[in-house]
């Protein structure tokens, strides 16, 4: 690890002024990913601005029934929050299926959104990686790519976005609030992360002088009936091969009246499955309609030798989750 300067911010405005004049600086939240990356020499900031003492760690209910989550709320606290568990259960489940208790106690909401891929070649300095070194090439394409993406990929990059929490947030239509000394912006979570295209080193809309201050959840009745399923290579402490965040509601006619679906582990960003949602909306709840919708969503998938199985796995997992939600609904 390269030696760095450490500053502790006590005021949001001061932190923003500081980063505005020192573009090489990075904000330090829980550090669960950034510090690892610094140890591996993949990130080497001159200065770390510790923001963990900033007053951004509250969760408040909004008048419209939504929720405003401070960027520094720890993952554990968010997962345990009674309103989250009651109104957005799949968000709580997604967080609890990520990492370990120790890491969740440290990791922040803002940091979780900005965590970087776990592509084996991104982490290996001796290997070519366009994300780490633009123009260097991509060793993952013809290498070990079991963990890599099949959706949203480009010739330059097939790295998966690793977050579970963000998959649920994508399904919820969460909004990310970011601030800089230039002002405040609100970015829909589904637009916050960028597809790799020819610039895989650019991962989000966040500018170098901006700080995530909050994530807002809109009121979403369908989310009360939701489920997050994570499929991986061991029972715990592994990133998803496929994950599915789904919420489902039925009308009086028994047809699907509202649905939210997002995928993790298969895409270069938290993947909102809008194609599938459109097919499901108004459809009868059946294995066939679920399978048709899942297949339509995955139709755009581009497999690699090591991860082609994920297309089928994703379809099967979507069906399993929707079946589960349907069974629960009809049973209740």
């Amino acid at each position: 690890m390269k030696t760095f300067n450490y500053l502790r911010a006590t005021d949001v405005d001061v932190a923003l002024q500081r980063i505005a004049v020192e573009p090489g600086a990075r904000f330090l939240g829980g550090g669960t990913n950034l510090v690892d990356l610094m140890r591996e020499g993949i990130e080497a900031p001159e200065t770390l601005i510790d923001i963990t003492r900033l007053p951004l760690d509250g969760i408040e209910e909004l008048p419209d029934g939504g929720l405003r989550i401070g960027a520094l709320v720890r993952n554990s606290d968010l997962a345990a929050h009674p309103v989250v568990r009651g109104r957005y259960p799949f968000l709580s489940q997604a967080i609890l299926l990520g990492a370990t208790g120790q890491i969740r106690n440290m990791a922040t909401v803002g940091g979780n959104l900005l965590q970087r891929t776990r592509c084996l070649y991104f982490y290996d300095e001796a290997s070519a990686c366009n994300k780490r070194e633009p123009g260097a090439g991509c060793a993952a394409r013809e290498g070990f790519n079991r963990g890599n993406a099949v959706l949203g990929t480009s010739d330059a990059c097939v790295a998966t976005h690793p977050s579970d929490m963000a998959v649920a947030l994508a399904a919820i239509d969460a909004v990310v609030e970011v601030r800089s000394s230039r002002g405040t912006r609100h970015i829909p979570l589904t637009e916050f992360h960028l597809l790799p295209g020819t610039t895989p080193h650019l991962e989000s809309q966040l500018e170098s002088d901006e700080l995530i201050t909050a994530v807002e959840l809109p009121p979403l009745p369908v989310a009360a009936h939701s489920y997050y399923r994570k499929v991986r290579d061991r029972a715990s402490y592994a990133f998803a091969l496929v994950s599915v965040a789904a919420a489902l509601d039925f009308g009086a006619d028994g047809r699907i009246a509202d649905v939210r679906l997002a995928l993790g582990g298969v895409a270069t960003k938290p993947w909102r499955a809008r194609t599938a949602e459109q097919l499901l909306l108004g459809a009868a709840a059946s294995e066939d309609s679920f399978a048709t919708a899942a297949a339509a969503e995955l139709a755009a998938a581009v497999p690699l030798p090591g991860n082609a199985f994920k297309i089928d796995l994703a379809c099967r997992t979507v069906v399993a989750v929707l079946r589960r939600l349907t069974t629960e609904r009809s049973g209740s």
């Binding site: 030696t3 982490y123 001796a126 061991r234 029972a235 091969l241 796995l313 399993a320």
Partner: protein, 745 residues
């Protein structure tokens, strides 16, 4: 025995005199380990200690043409950067000689580290940074820039297999074994299977990564090292640095797991001693997990043909196993994958053949149950396949082929209770509840299956020098340079010595893990407990004779030994087995050969029956293990508590091998891409079911106290039991480990 000490004031439960053996005594090192008091190799402190980090090659084969250390040297706190251009010279590895002495040649590789511009594997250490702090050393190491002239490298096992040639083998394991004409018998068998099984390479991931502290004082070298062979290691270092063995001391009081990965001396140990010599200060070289996977070997990958022929009533007529494994170009181990096939079943015709291919990879090494872990997966999966071909219960098939004598050597078994193990195990596990049809059992979205397999690991006994001192205060001291890697080695030897001397267990102190002590065996091949016990019992018997003679003289016959010593005004009595004099060392080798030949009269092994129940998700293919039973035939158990731990831990390791572990070597360039716990998937707690272990507790009469080593047998048969259960659950045969969910879908 049911009360557990809560404070260090009363660390040991009371054990009746004469009744220590067979009791579930707590581990002696347990308290020190859970409180952090135990000092592991990297945790010793010296004034002026420096910290070292290695630089690893990033090509598989070639020549270093330039190496630029300027940026690394410029990092504040850096003391030295050593490369092949400026590092101290070392002697080449000495050729091994099993009869004379293995010590100096137990080398992970044959490379003259930092003495050559040649690169033999991606990950080979080619420079070391020594600094005032580990932070500075870690910052500087990546700044060393290296230019290479690359050569074509052989790094793709799949592609190189056709270059494999029959292996020669050695004194303990022949490359090829034949009985009758197995191919002809297979061709005419009424029922047969002819299958291909593969296993990936596996990495060592002990809780304590490899680490060394090296301290030179003139021509004397002291090394704190993560080793499971202090004796071999100190002889090895003496040879390489050209100093008398008496001037090298290797200490390893606590080792955080070893499993074979800390037997051979790996580059870190040698480079730490080189660096300490170069900077004239003590050096600590603690490898990162990544560095361990680049510079300390693991298990070879394997490809195996297994063919079984049988009569319709399930008598084996042909058994063929043809295995291909790899070694490095600069060292490596013949992984004895045919070992189970040679000893488990009474097939009339047998052919087992080991083939080796040399590759430009980090040399492979011992990893718990080398040979048997792979071999039992291959053979025991194939037996299950044959049982289904025969429409026969797989345990029945095994029992129909129980041999009367060793099927390869024809020797008598010293003990063989596999039948009893399967019978007791099947009863305890509820095997009879199993519907034999594949895909016939289900629990909601989970397909349920049950599988069984035989566990097998042969017995090897080495020699140990031991000194036992009995003092007139009633205490005894046992000294032997054996190794405590977490399995309660000292605890069980104290139990054995206490009963042999007729004194209380708590009165016995044991010193170990130091090459200055009477040399112990390496801790491997499940030999250590029986090996050390042989000498402890001999020394204690001699002491007892001395005490008895003294008691007659002093009229204290029938009293406790200390009373006799006090009556004779003798502060202590000692008895030894072996000596470190030149003559003594030769005698030790003689004892080794005598024991080895004596043990060779029998076919001896640890055995067992593994049972498991698995669940496979019908939607996603995820595999969960829901129940486990291992029923073992492992001789007389000295300590049920620590024996159960060993067996359980072994089963966990087998579960890892079956479900998720695999070394990812990039076939394009030979680079290990699973160089960390984030990419090398060990099983986590959630993967491990409740594990029931039990044993028959029948002593092997050919062994001291009836002991059979059990450090490795628990791992064998595990992967096969799981694969067989997965077949039962899903109807799918997984012949390539690990059993990942994409294979069961």
């Amino acid at each position: 025995m049911t009360t557990h000490a809560k404070t260090p004031v009363d660390p040991a439960p009371s054990v009746p005199v004469g009744g220590a053996v067979g009791r579930p005594v707590d581990r002696r090192d347990g308290h020190a380990k859970v409180t952090g008091a135990a000092r592991f190799s990297a945790e010793h402190h010296y004034p002026d200690l420096t910290y070292a980090t290695m630089v690893h090659a990033t090509i598989a084969r070639g020549t270093i043409t330039a190496i630029d250390t300027a940026a690394a040297v410029a990092v504040p706190g850096v003391v030295a950067v050593l490369t092949h251009l400026n590092a101290p010279r070392i002697r080449p590895v000495r050729k091994g000689n099993i009869v004379r002495d293995l010590g100096p040649s137990v080398s992970g590789t044959e490379v003259n580290y930092l003495n050559t511009d040649q690169v033999f594997w991606d990950g080979q250490p080619i420079a070391v940074v020594v600094a005032q702090t580990s932070v500075a050393a870690n910052e500087a190491a990546p700044l060393v820039t290296v230019t290479y002239r690359e050569q074509q490298a052989r790094v793709d096992f799949a592609a190189e297999q056709h270059n494999a040639t029959p292996a020669k083998g050695d004194l303990t394991f022949a490359g090829t074994k034949k009985k009758g004409d197995a191919e002809a018998a297979l061709a005419t068998a009424q029922v047969s299977v002819d299958l291909r099984y593969t296993t990936p390479g596996l990495q060592h991931n002990t809780i304590e990564p490899h680490a060394t502290i090296a301290v030179w004082s003139g021509d004397h070298l002291t090394v704190h090292d993560t080793t499971q062979s202090t004796d071999a290691s100190h002889k090895y270092l003496a040879w390489r640095f050209g100093v008398p063995a008496a001037q090298v001391r290797v200490r390893a009081e606590f080792v955080g797991g070893a499993f074979g990965g800390k037997f051979a001396v790996w580059p870190g140990t040698v480079i730490a001693a080189m660096a300490a010599k170069a900077v004239g200060r003590p050096v600590r070289l603690a490898l990162s997990r990544k560095a361990v996977s680049r510079a300390a070997g693991g298990r070879t990958a394997s490809t195996n043909r297994i063919a079984l022929g049988a009569t319709r009533d399930g008598r084996l007529t042909a058994l063929i196993q043809d295995s291909i494994t790899h070694v490095g170009s600069v060292g490596g181990l013949l992984e004895a994958t045919s070992s189970p096939a040679r000893h488990l079943y009474g097939a009339k015709n047998m052919l087992t053949r080991q083939n080796l291919v040399e590759m430009d990879l980090l040399p492979n090494t011992w990893l718990r149950a080398p040979g048997e872990a792979i071999g039992s997966f291959v053979l025991e999966s194939a037996m299950d396949e044959l049982a289904y071909e025969l429409a026969m219960d797989p345990i029945d098939l095994r029992m129909r082929n129980e041999p009367a004598t060793d099927p390869t050597s024809g020797k008598k078994f010293s003990q063989r209770m596999l039948r009893e193990a399967f019978e007791a195990g099947a009863e305890r596990f509820g095997w009879a509840d199993r519907n034999p049809s594949p895909r016939s059992m289900r629990d909601g979205e989970w397909l349920v299956g049950m599988g069984a397999a035989t566990a097998y690991h042969p017995v090897l006994r080495l020699v140990a020098d031991v000194k036992v001192r009995l003092s007139n205060d009633g205490t005894a001291l046992v000294q032997c340079g054996f190794h405590e890697m977490g399995m309660a080695a000292a605890t069980v030897q104290a139990q054995i010595a206490a009963d042999a001397l007729g004194i209380a267990y708590e009165k016995v102190r044991v010193e170990y893990g130091d090459s200055d002590l009477p040399p112990g065996p390496m801790a491997g091949n499940s030999n250590q407990t029986a090996t050390v016990a042989t000498s402890v019992l001999a020394a204690c018997a001699e002491l007892t004779r001395k005490v008895t003679a003294l008691a007659r003289k002093t009229g204290t016959t029938g009293q406790e030994p200390a009373a006799t010593l006090r009556a004779a005004h003798t502060p202590f009595l000692e008895a030894s087995v072996g000596s470190t004099s030149r003559l003594g060392s030769l005698r030790s080798q003689g004892r080794f050969l005598a024991t080895f030949l004596k043990d060779q009269r029998w076919s001896k092994a640890a055995r067992g029956a593994q049972f498991c129940e698995v669940r496979v998700n019908a939607d996603t293919g995820e595999l969960r293990i829901s129940r486990w039973l291992g029923m073992f035939d492992v001789g007389h158990i000295i300590n049920p508590k620590t024996a159960a731990s060993q067996l359980r831990g072994s089963i966990v390791m087998g579960i890892g091998m079956a479900m998720s572990e695999q070394t990812l070597v990039d076939p394009r360039n030979g680079r290990t891409m699973s160089a960390g716990l984030d990419s090398y998937y060990l099983p986590v707690h959630a993967d491990i079911p409740p594990i029931d272990v039990a044993w028959l507790n029948e002593p092997d009469k050919s062994m001291p106290l009836g002991i059979i080593g059990l450090g490795e047998v628990g791992m064998t048969g595990v992967a096969a039991a799981i694969a067989n259960a997965v077949y039962h659950a899903t109807g799918r045969r997984i012949r390539d480990l690990p059993i990942s969910l994409d294979k069961t879908l």
